[in-house]
Each structure stands twice: as structure tokens, then as C-alpha cells.
């Protein structure tokens, strides 16, 4: 491939691995952020373009109707606020992009605009916002709402929300905004280093893709396999072109979880151990599925098929899929043998995996990958080393990934806008 791929790492401010090999000495140490600040430094050394910090504001009770299963699986909780962590990372790094997840349904727009403006200032223009709209009613109840708006309505609101925050970022003096949903009046929140944060979004649905095509500089998606990856990216580019925009202004990144070994066979054996019905993987998967579908799978016999007459107020499509998949097997068998959502199965030596990633990029046309090994209770320094000292150098040797010495601030790397954001320190600007 001719252009180096864009590489990010998606991580949760959650417990690190605590009940698996290479867990390290202290299962509570993650809370003070040191692990993640060290991780950010390691990513920067390896030439990774950015770190993306996930967020949610809830302890789910979907599986079994209480918090017990969640606190075993640690899919979403416990979790600390990623924003102060991002601020700490900004002082420990010089060129790594720092993307924070914030929900348009939970934060008031002027608070969000000011927090992002401060991260922009603290990082010298290296900050980004991963725009999410949230979907958990329990999170809504934490901020005084009964429930969240319907999916497409959330995106309509998010669109207006972005216009409100943009008004604050680009305004001077007093800013007024009167929309259908939001009403603001107050001092502008001008960005000092960039014109706006790098905007990231993960839109899978038509409404989500429309929103992403309109606003996002970076789009994260998990279509499975090179053909689906290409179709997704083409769909996004077509939407941008149809609206009269330049499709190259936006990068599409695919979520992947590489599993690396010293031989391909060793990596495969590792994968089989990680994703087996008798490992704690099954609990994670079924808690995760209960969370995203809001279906309590604890109601069903885990060692049998989902009954054909089962009904739900949650995601009907997911229930139907699980009925079909488990018809001749069981929930445990089907869920236990799958891992994290990943666009490509990347299992092998660093060389094998690097080749597969490059092959996929050549087929799809771009633009890069978002590495992920989470949520809580999974990531270890050992895993980071495997990727950063094993896989990334293989990509660099093939000219497919940047090294730390290559110039370019986060914004140039990700969006190639061709101009230096005012105020970005010279040593990380273009042409440095």
C-alpha cells in the first residue's frame, strides 16, 4: 500500500486484566490512571496516531435484573470518567491524538463544548470528540431523564447539538443559539489550537451513516470481512460526495483485535483458549449481548436453544438472530466461541497479521484500523507489548504504518487538511 494506514487504539478507563495470565501485581491499580497514561506514552513511542477513550455512565442490570453478572464480566462497569484521564494524558504526550467519548444525550452542549475546548488547549490541538448518543435508559435516569429518545430522534437531536457546539467553538463574545431542542446563551468557547476537535463517530445504521458523513473526520465501524468493509466505506464516501463534500476529508477505521503468537499455531491455540464456551468469555459475551439488546438472556436455558416462542421488549432483531443461531445448539456454544467484534480475524504471527491487514487495506482502499482489546478486565501490558513491539514494527517495515519520527500532528495525520492548526507547537506541525 502507498499511504501508511491510520492507527488508533480504543480503550476503556476500566479494570485491567485481573484474573488472567499477565495481570500484573495489583487488580485495583487502574483507578489512578497510571496504567493508561503509561499506555498513551507507549502508543506515542510506537507512532500510533491516537488513543480513543470510551465512555458510558451506567452499571447495567440487563442480565439477571441486577448488577451481579456485570460486576463479574466487567463489560461496562466499573469505569472512571475518561475526561480527566485525557487531560492527564495530554501532559504526558507530545504528538499523540487524544479522542474522548462524550454523549450528546447526557452532557449539556455548552458544558461539552467548554470541556472539549479545554482539552484542545491542554493538548495543543491534539484533541478529538467521539460523538455518541447513548442508548441505556438507566444512564438517562442518572441524569434526571426517564428514558432516552428513539434511535433516529437521537440523531436528529445530535445534529442540532453539533450545530450548537460549533456555534460556541467558532463564535466570538456572546453566542446565542435557538434550536428546536436546545437553547443557549453565553460566552463563546473558542478553540485556541484548532478550529474544532477532530470529530469521530461510529454510525452503522442509515441515520448513523448520514450523521457520520455530515460531521465526522474519523468513522469507526465493524463490518465483517474485506467485502463488507469496502461496501461500508464506499457508502460513506458516496454520501459525502452526494452532499458535495470531499470524501478524502474523512477516514474510515475498522475495529480489530489482533491475537498474536510466535507461530501461527500458537496464536490459534491462544484464540481457542480465549474464546471457548468454558472460559469466562461466555459470561462476557452474554452480558454484552443482554446490554446491547436490553434482553435478559438469564431468562433462558443457557445450555439450550432460545425458545421459538420467546418475546422481548428489547431488540427484536437480536432475539430472532439468536433463535436462528441456537436452533440446533445452545447459547453457551454459540456465544462462547466468539470473541470481540472484529472486522478481520487477525490471528497469527506479527508477520502473518501485518500481511492480512495490508491485504485488506489494498482491497478496501483505506483508511486504517482501530485496535481494541476490552472492555474491562482484559487489557494487560503484555498484550500491549505484543502489538506495539510485534505487530506495529512489522507494519512499519512494510511502509504500512508511521513511525514516531515521522512528522505530522494528529489532525494532519488523520484528516490531511493541509494546513497547520494555529497554535500547534512547531515541532509537531506539518513539515517539522
Amino acid at each position: 500500500m502507498n499511504t501508511p494506514m491510520t492507527l488508533g487504539w480504543f480503550v476503556n478507563y476500566m479494570p485491567t486484566g485481573w484474573n488472567r495470565p499477565w495481570s500484573g501485581p495489583d487488580p485495583r491499580a487502574w483507578t489512578d490512571g497510571t496504567f493508561y497514561v503509561d499506555m498513551a506514552r507507549a502508543l506515542e513511542r510506537s507512532g500510533i496516531d491516537f488513543i480513543m477513550l470510551e465512555d458510558s455512565s451506567v452499571v447495567p442490570e440487563n442480565f439477571g435484573g441486577d448488577m451481579v453478572a456485570e460486576f463479574k464480566a466487567t463489560v461496562k462497569a466499573p469505569k472512571h470518567d475518561p475526561l480527566p484521564l485525557a487531560a492527564a494524558i495530554s501532559q504526558a504526550t507530545e504528538r499523540l491524538g487524544i479522542v474522548t467519548t462524550m454523549s450528546t444525550s447526557l452532557y449539556p452542549p455548552d458544558r461539552l463544548a467548554r470541556m472539549q475546548a479545554t482539552l484542545d488547549e491542554l493538548s495543543g490541538g491534539r484533541s478529538g470528540w467521539n460523538i455518541v448518543t447513548s442508548f441505556e435508559d438507566l444512564a438517562a435516569q442518572n441524569v434526571g431523564l426517564e428514558k432516552l429518545w428513539e434511535h433516529d430522534e437521537r440523531y436528529r437531536r445530535a445534529d442540532e447539538y453539533l450545530r450548537a457546539t460549533s456555534a460556541l467553538w467558532s463564535g466570538e463574545g456572546e453566542v446565542s443559539f435557538d434550536g428546536e431542542y436546545y437553547r443557549l446563551r453565553g460566552p463563546a468557547a473558542p478553540l485556541t489550537a484548532a478550529d474544532r476537535p477532530v470529530l469521530c463517530q461510529a454510525g452503522g445504521s442509515p441515520a448513523g451513516m448520514d450523521f457520520a458523513a455530515e460531521w465526522a473526520d474519523l468513522i469507526v465501524a465493524v463490518p465483517v470481512g474485506p467485502a463488507a468493509m469496502k461496501a461500508y466505506r464506499d457508502g460513506i464516501r458516496e454520501r459525502i460526495e452526494r452532499a458535495g463534500g470531499d470524501p478524502d476529508r474523512c477516514r474510515v477505521l475498522y475495529m480489530v483485535t489482533p491475537i498474536l503468537g510466535e507461530t501461527d499455531a500458537e496464536a490459534r491455540a491462544k484464540r481457542d483458549r480465549m474464546y471457548s464456551p468454558d472460559s469466562d468469555n461466555f459470561l462476557r459475551r452474554i452480558v454484552q449481548l443482554s446490554n446491547i439488546s436490553e434482553i435478559d438472556f438469564a431468562r433462558f436455558d443457557l445450555d439450550g436453544p432460545v425458545p421459538a416462542d420467546a418475546t422481548t421488549n428489547g431488540a427484536q432483531s437480536i432475539l430472532d438472530t439468536m433463535k436462528r443461531l441456537t436452533a440446533n445448539s445452545s447459547l453457551r456454544e454459540v456465544l462462547g466461541s466468539t470473541g470481540e467484534s472484529t472486522s478481520l480475524e487477525l490471528v497469527g504471527t506479527p508477520a502473518t497479521v501485518a500481511d492480512r491487514m495490508i491485504e485488506a487495506m489494498d482491497h478496501v482502499g483505506g483508511d486504517g484500523f482501530l485496535l481494541f482489546h476490552g472492555g474491562g478486565g482484559i487489557i494487560t501490558r503484555h498484550y500491549l507489548d505484543e502489538v506495539l513491539d510485534g505487530l506495529v514494527p512489522e507494519l512499519q517495515r512494510r511502509g504500512a504504518a508511521r513511525t514516531m519520527d515521522e512528522p505530522g500532528a494528529f489532525r494532519q495525520r488523520t484528516a490531511d487538511r493541509g494546513h497547520a492548526p494555529p497554535g500547534v507547537p512547531r515541532d509537531v506541525g506539518p513539515g517539522a
Binding site: Y13, P15, W18, N19, P27, R28, T31, D32, G33, V37, S56, S57, V58, V59, D66, M67, V68, F71, K72, T74, K76, A77, P78, K79, H80, D81, L83, P84, L85, A86, A87, A88, Q91, L106, Y107, P108, P109, D110, R111, R114, M115, A117, T118, E121, L122, L138, Q141, N142, V143, G144, L145, Y181, Y182, R183, L184, R185, G186, P187, T192, G377
Partner: protein, 309 residues
């Protein structure tokens, strides 16, 4: 009163870079805590700036001024909880609730301070404080068990749903993060005299909700020290630029320097006054200020009951 007076410093609004530098210098000079001003005063967002300073300034208490009108109580409780974790127990909240005239409203029907009067805002502030206290009390101190044989990372029996519903704010909870090193951040406020000082929700006299519930009160005049000490564990006398080089003797626990921006006076106070007054002290901010640990302890409570502040 501790053998040496407490030194707290109210920073003037400045750029993020200058604020972080000033905090690092105050940390080296042995000051006990800084207050970072709210962004409505014309600087960066204080909680994030405090988090950014946490490693360059490894000992000093970091107190962020956050207006309750800026976001729902859950988000404030969560952010301060994380700041306390990141700073290993040095976080504080300077509670102010000024009407800056700014408006941020939506169509959700939740209570909004825009266009309301001072009495209503005061009641809402008391409610907001109770909501954050309920959330900080949602995790017992030893909820993380990390028990490998049973596969439990957190003991779910040690995490409680507060289900807080006040007249202005509702938050179900629990917080999604564990109890931080201090239990909750130290609350700091300007002293406001009331006819009959009283603690707790629902009985706040006008203008006193923040003052009544603060761990640390700042007084503008020596004559207020005794009244402030009746409600707060720790009282600091405000000292402006005119007395900064020669702080007056006081019956308070120490001084809150304010109104001193970057420049010669800042350096002179740091090098001529603080060495005699301040000492580099480690550990939790609440311990450094001599605050009773009991107030920060976990209190068993059930959803819907009155929240201990």
C-alpha cells in the same frame, strides 16, 4: 489549629499552560491546596486543568470550582470522583452557584435555573449537593474484591442504588466508578452568615446551602471566624494582595490567598511568605486539613431516605 497554618491559594484565571505552571510552583513551595476558578471567570475548565496538573504537582490539593448549573449532579459527582482517584485523594470542590446570566436549556422538562430567582436557585443548590452526596455514598469502601476463584471483580452487595429524587434533581445511580481514596472530595465554600446555621437539605437559609455543607469555609474578615467554625471543620481567612506579604494573625486555621496573578508579588509570596507558613505534606487532602474522617465515611442508607451531607 495545626502547628503551621494551612495555605490555600485561589488562582486567578489564566491560560491552561500558565495555570498548570502556577500549580506546580505552589506545590513546590509547600502550599496545601489550590482552587482553580470556573471557566465562567475566563480561563480553561478547572477540573480538567486540575487533572492535567496532577502529575507535575504531586502533593498539592486540587480544588475545582464547578457551578451546579453547568451539568446534572451525576456528571459532577462522577468527574470529581475520578479526579480524586487520579490525584490519589487530593480532590476538592469549590461550590459556587452564581447567576452568570448564561443559559443552556433543552426541551426535556428538567428543571433549569434560567429565569429563576435567588431563593429557588438556593433550594436547587441544596438539592444538587444532596444528590451528589447520595451518589458518592453509593459504593462501599471495599466493594472491589477481585476474587479470582468466584470470578467476582466487584461485590454487587456493596454497591447501592440511591434512587435520589429531590424537588429539583433526580438521579438513580449508583455511580459507575468505585469510591475514591477520600470517600468524596473536600467541599470548600465562601462563608455565608445565616440567622440559624443548620446542616442538611431542606432547611437551608437563603444563600447558605454551600456554606452550611462545606468542610472548609473561607471568611473575608477575622470577625467571621467563630461563626464559620460553628458549621465547618476548617476555616481559612482570605488574604488579598495588600496583606499577602504580611498576613495578619488569625484565629482561623490558616489563609486563603486570593487576587494575586502572575508577577512579582506571586513570586515574593511564594519565596518570602510560604516558606515560613507552609510545609510539604503528603497524603489525603482531608487529612492534611485535619477534617474528621467520619464525615467522609460510608453511611448505610436506603433509596429515598434523607441524605447525610
Amino acid at each position: 489549629m495545626p502547628t503551621r497554618p494551612t495555605v490555600l491559594w485561589l488562582l486567578e484565571p489564566a491560560s491552561a499552560r500558565d495555570t498548570v505552571r502556577a500549580i506546580a510552583e505552589l506545590d513546590l513551595a509547600g502550599a496545601d491546596a489550590v482552587v482553580l476558578p470556573a471557566e465562567s471567570r475566563g480561563g480553561p475548565e478547572p477540573l480538567l486543568t486540575a487533572a492535567a496538573a496532577a502529575r507535575r504537582a504531586p502533593r498539592i490539593g486540587l480544588i475545582a470550582e464547578i457551578s451546579p448549573w453547568s451539568q446534572p449532579p451525576f456528571l459532577t459527582a462522577r468527574a470529581l470522583n475520578t479526579l480524586d482517584a487520579l490525584t490519589r485523594g487530593r480532590a476538592g470542590w469549590f461550590v459556587t452557584a452564581e447567576d452568570t446570566g448564561a443559559v443552556c436549556a433543552d426541551d426535556s422538562g428538567r428543571w433549569n435555573p434560567a429565569g429563576t430567582g435567588p431563593r429557588e436557585r438556593e433550594e436547587a443548590l441544596a438539592d444538587y449537593l444532596a444528590a451528589t452526596a447520595a451518589l458518592w455514598n453509593s459504593w462501599e469502601p471495599h466493594a472491589i474484591v477481585a476474587d479470582v476463584p468466584s470470578g467476582r471483580y466487584v461485590d454487587a452487595d456493596c454497591v447501592h442504588v440511591p434512587g435520589y429524587r429531590g424537588p429539583y434533581y433526580a438521579t438513580r445511580g449508583p455511580l459507575n466508578a468505585p469510591r475514591p481514596p477520600q470517600g468524596r472530595p473536600v467541599r470548600v465554600a465562601d462563608f455565608a452568615a445565616a440567622a440559624e446555621p443548620s446542616r442538611g437539605t431542606g432547611c437551608a437559609a437563603p444563600g447558605t446551602a454551600a456554606s452550611d455543607t462545606a468542610d472548609v469555609l473561607l471568611v473575608a474578615d477575622e470577625s467571621e471566624v467563630a461563626a464559620a467554625a460553628a458549621t465547618a471543620s476548617h476555616v481559612l481567612l482570605r488574604v488579598g494582595p495588600e496583606r499577602a506579604l504580611d498576613p495578619p494573625p488569625t484565629g482561623a486555621d490558616g489563609y486563603a490567598f486570593h487576587g494575586i496573578g502572575p508577577g512579582a508579588l506571586f513570586g515574593r509570596v511564594l519565596h518570602e511568605v510560604l516558606p515560613a507558613a507552609a510545609a510539604a505534606r503528603d497524603g489525603l487532602l482531608r487529612d492534611r486539613l485535619g477534617l474528621p474522617a467520619g464525615d467522609f465515611d460510608y453511611v448505610p442508607c436506603e433509596a429515598g431516605t434523607e441524605v447525610p451531607l
